[in-house]
């Protein structure tokens, strides 16, 4: 995993988790520093980066939820280039509807592309648990996207 890929993962995670570019930028900077320290303590093994990213971002996001600093409205600038035609409305609705574990599992697994094994290692749960959370989250997200919210 290259340095750019790591930064991209961290930046996208905080952007889609908080939907605030300023916060995402500062949080990504801090999380990157934390990840570097963590990987360094693990012997600088490159394969540890995805699990470390999951662990660090999970703890950061939990602190963010506790501090209630989540922004009320979306805010993004030119630094974040969304694909054309993508609407963040369903994502915001999904954030409200889904459990936090399911929301984060979908974000890590299907948006950031982190493997289920790395997620399970980072969270300290089984891979089946991760897949279950992702499946439930995708179901909620799909129903929100289709306008047929049914759980």
């Amino acid at each position: 995993m290259t340095e750019e890929a790591r930064i991209r993962l961290l930046a996208l995670f905080f952007f889609f988790a908080a939907l605030d570019e300023r916060f995402a930028q500062s949080a990504a900077i801090k999380a990157l520093r934390k990840c570097r320290q963590r990987v360094k303590s693990l012997g600088n093994r490159d394969e540890k980066w995805p699990a470390v990213i999951v662990d660090v971002t999970n703890s950061f996001f939990n602190k963010l939820k506790q501090s209630k600093r989540l922004p009320a409205a979306i805010s993004y600038e030119a630094g974040w280039i969304l694909p054309e035609g993508v609407d963040l409305g369903p994502w915001m609705e999904f954030q409200k509807e889904a459990d936090l574990d399911e929301f984060l599992a979908v974000l890590w697994s299907r948006v950031l592309g982190i493997s289920d094994e790395a997620i399970s290692e980072g969270l300290g749960v089984s891979a089946g648990t991760v897949r279950h959370r992702v499946g439930r989250g995708l179901h909620i997200l799909g129903s929100v996207k289709r306008g047929d919210r049914r759980r």
Binding site: E3, E4, I7, R8, L10, A11, L12, F15, F16, Q25, A28, I29, L32, A78, G79, W80, I81, L82, P83, V86, P90, W91, V106, R110, V111, L112, G113, R131, H132, V134, G135, G137, L138, H139, I140, L141, G142, S143, K145, R146, D148, R150
Partner: protein, 344 residues
């Protein structure tokens, strides 16, 4: 393959429940099911509409997430996150210092220098190193006041008195009001007085004043001293005043009734006893409040003079040290005779 056929022949075919099919849908979509379970899900899906809807939701969600995953980050933002340096790192590297305005920089430098200088000044043990520093006079003249006393010198004033006045020094009165039990001065050169001067106070004892007035002393109540004539100009300087004075002058004070009439009698009596004027004025020089006598006479006539004066009234005599030394066998008197104050 053999085992699979064996399973199909030995165990009866079981249809999936909706719950199981739903739980396996994500693995079905993501291609993580084995062949048998995949086939089972494939067979169940056409029979259940809700499961078909859930499968559509999953596919919709996967498609939406894959689109979100295509989000890119601009290169400047990427570099900013990558190259971010914390505040203290920037302080260490001097980035902040260079970006600050010159006024702030100069202000901070001045403040730091002031604090350091104040700290050094407080830390240095000035008392210990003061011995090594050049000493300057620690006396500073703040104000210099020259007080000029407009006093008209009398004809009998000594030059020392006039000098004292000119120097602004105060001239204390020689004879403050002495209580009535004051004693008379013993006769000079070991001659013991045989009788008390002030007969009105027979209990008084004879002794010299505890502290002799200085040579600048003057008679009270406007009387002016005139102890020397022209040769008094050789009075020692101020520094010589402090030396022990070997000479003496007798200062006598009287209060009588009818000064005008008795001044002449006293003058004649003194002259009869060998008294001659010692100052610049004649004996019995009349002033507004009394008569002034400055004279010298033979030492042997001291007691006679005391007797003479006693005939006119009570007399107080003080023997003051004086820088002027009279010739052997001569003594000097300054007598002030004042009118008795009438009782109201």
């Amino acid at each position: 393959m053999i085992n699979q056929e064996h399973d199909q022949t030995l165990t009866p075919k079981r249809q999936l429940s909706r719950f199981l099919c739903r739980e396996m849908l994500y693995d079905f979509v993501s291609n993580n099911l084995d062949h048998a379970r995949r086939k089972a899900v494939d067979e169940f899906l056409p029979t259940d509409f809700e499961t078909q809807q859930e499968l559509e939701n999953l596919r919709e969600g996967l498609g939406y997430c894959s689109r979100l995953g295509e989000t890119r980050i601009s290169v400047p933002l990427l570099q900013e996150i990558r190259d971010y340096k914390s505040f203290w790192v920037r302080v260490k590297e001097g980035h902040l210092w260079r970006s600050w305005p010159d006024a702030v920089k100069w202000g901070i430098e001045a403040l730091v220098i002031s604090v350091v200088a104040a700290g050094v000044a407080m830390v240095i043990p000035w008392k210990r190193i003061s011995h090594f520093l050049p000493k300057a006079s620690n006396q500073f003249v703040l104000v210099e006041v020259n007080k000029e006393v407009k006093t008209k010198p009398g004809p009998g004033d000594t030059e020392a008195d006039q000098t004292a006045i000119a120097d602004g020094r105060s001239v204390p009165p020689v004879a403050p009001e002495v209580p009535d039990n004051t004693e008379a001065v013993p006769p000079p050169e070991g001659k013991k007085p045989t009788e008390k001067v002030a007969e009105t106070k027979p209990t008084a004892e004879v002794k010299a004043p505890a502290k002799a007035p200085t040579e600048n002393a003057t008679p009270p109540a406007g009387a002016e001293t005139s102890e020397v004539t022209g040769d008094e100009s050789s009075a020692p300087a101020a520094g010589a005043d402090r030396k022990p004075m070997k000479g003496y002058v007798y200062r006598a004070f009287m209060t009588v009734e009818g000064v005008d009439g008795k001044t002449g009698e006293i003058t004649q009596g003194l002259q009869a006893l060998g008294g001659t004027k010692a100052g610049q004025v004649e004996l019995g020089w009349r002033k507004a409040k009394g008569s002034y006598f400055h004279f010298s006479l033979p030492e042997s006539n001291y007691e006679e003079v005391v007797k003479l004066l006693r005939n006119f009234g009570p007399v107080r005599i003080y023997k003051d040290p004086h820088w002027r030394v009279m010739p052997e066998g001569k003594i000097r008197f300054i007598l002030w005779v004042e009118e008795t104050k009438s009782q109201p």
